[in-house]
Symmetry: C2
Subunit: 189 residues, 2 copies
């Protein structure tokens, strides 16, 4: 985000994001890059069979320990066809959530910094896995997703190409797209 684009005339908030605070953060980081060093953490406990529970309580960032408003719990399960009791989304579905959640937040924040108003974002995504990799049936088959496709429908006057470019600052997109093809389509209405 280019803080030089900031002017006194920009709105204080855009897309529900405090733009003044955002540019303030960017300026602070430029003066002290250590502020940008974050360490996210989680703990997990196996609950038996296909079920396990992750808890997130805090992280390190902006030069100090940070505590979330409340602990966040995430329960992983597996559906019956994968021999589970379906008590929660499975880990590869949680990966899709991480990806689309990150693309959405990233698009919204970067658009706010450029004063591009967004009224709505609705997305769908899907990923293909051949479970012969996971099961160890074939060494030639990769264990994880081989491809993920994302469609984002954005209610905005912004250009689809620009919005797509902004979304791809996403940290989770960075991770997943280094590992496999992630096709992101952005359509505006």
């Amino acid at each position: 985000m280019n803080a030089n684009a900031a002017t006194q005339s920009r709105p204080a908030t855009c897309n529900g994001v405090d733009v003044d605070a955002l540019f303030g953060t960017i300026q602070a980081i430029k003066q002290d890059p250590a502020i940008a060093e974050f360490r996210f953490r989680a703990t997990n406990r196996w609950l038996g069979g296909d079920s396990n529970l992750t808890t997130v309580t805090g992280f390190y960032g902006a030069r100090q320990e940070q505590v979330h408003a409340r602990p966040f719990e995430m329960e992983c399960g597996e559906p019956p066809v994968l021999l589970g009791r379906d008590a929660g989304a499975n880990p590869v579905e949680f990966l899709l959530n991480a990806l689309i959640g990150c693309l959405t937040t990233t698009m919204v924040f970067h658009a706010a910094a450029r004063n591009i108003a967004i009224e709505a974002v609705d997305s769908e995504l899907e990923g293909d896995i051949d479970l012969r990799g996971f099961l160890g049936i074939s060494r030639d088959v990769r264990k994880g997703y081989r491809e993920v496709r994302v469609k984002m429908r954005v209610k905005s006057k912004g250009s689809p190409a620009v919005l797509r470019e902004l979304a791809q600052y996403s940290p989770v997109f960075d991770v997943v797209s280094r590992a496999l093809p992630v096709n992101v389509e952005v359509e505006t209405t």
Copy 2:
């Protein structure tokens, strides 16, 4: 998993996993690899600012559409230091959940197939991100995690080296470890 290792004397369940069903699945896939083709899906709606909601209702696998027992919802947020209202774990924390949930389930299932009893698994993990990448302050800084470290404490008579190897059949580990160094330590008690 090696179905040839199956014997009539193996227990019907191990680690809460139906081992007969597991070997049945493996045999079925060997005869018809199309059974192993899965397509996982999610939808997401932006809720304003830092908040968005993913819903997972079903997927395709084992040659048919599959519906979860109930829809699973996952709400992403951001903490105040990242300009959010902290209504949910943030996407990079959800990525840690996907990773440790998948490593845990994978270890437990593969151990069950080898009749390695596991009594407990407790894990912690952390990942390092320099937010200058996400913010577009520096092109030389990667946007996502640069490293993730995982510690799994397993109550089992299995060998830590074998349990670690089994965990690494994990589909989410496959994705993340193709993108960045993921150091997995397994300790048994």
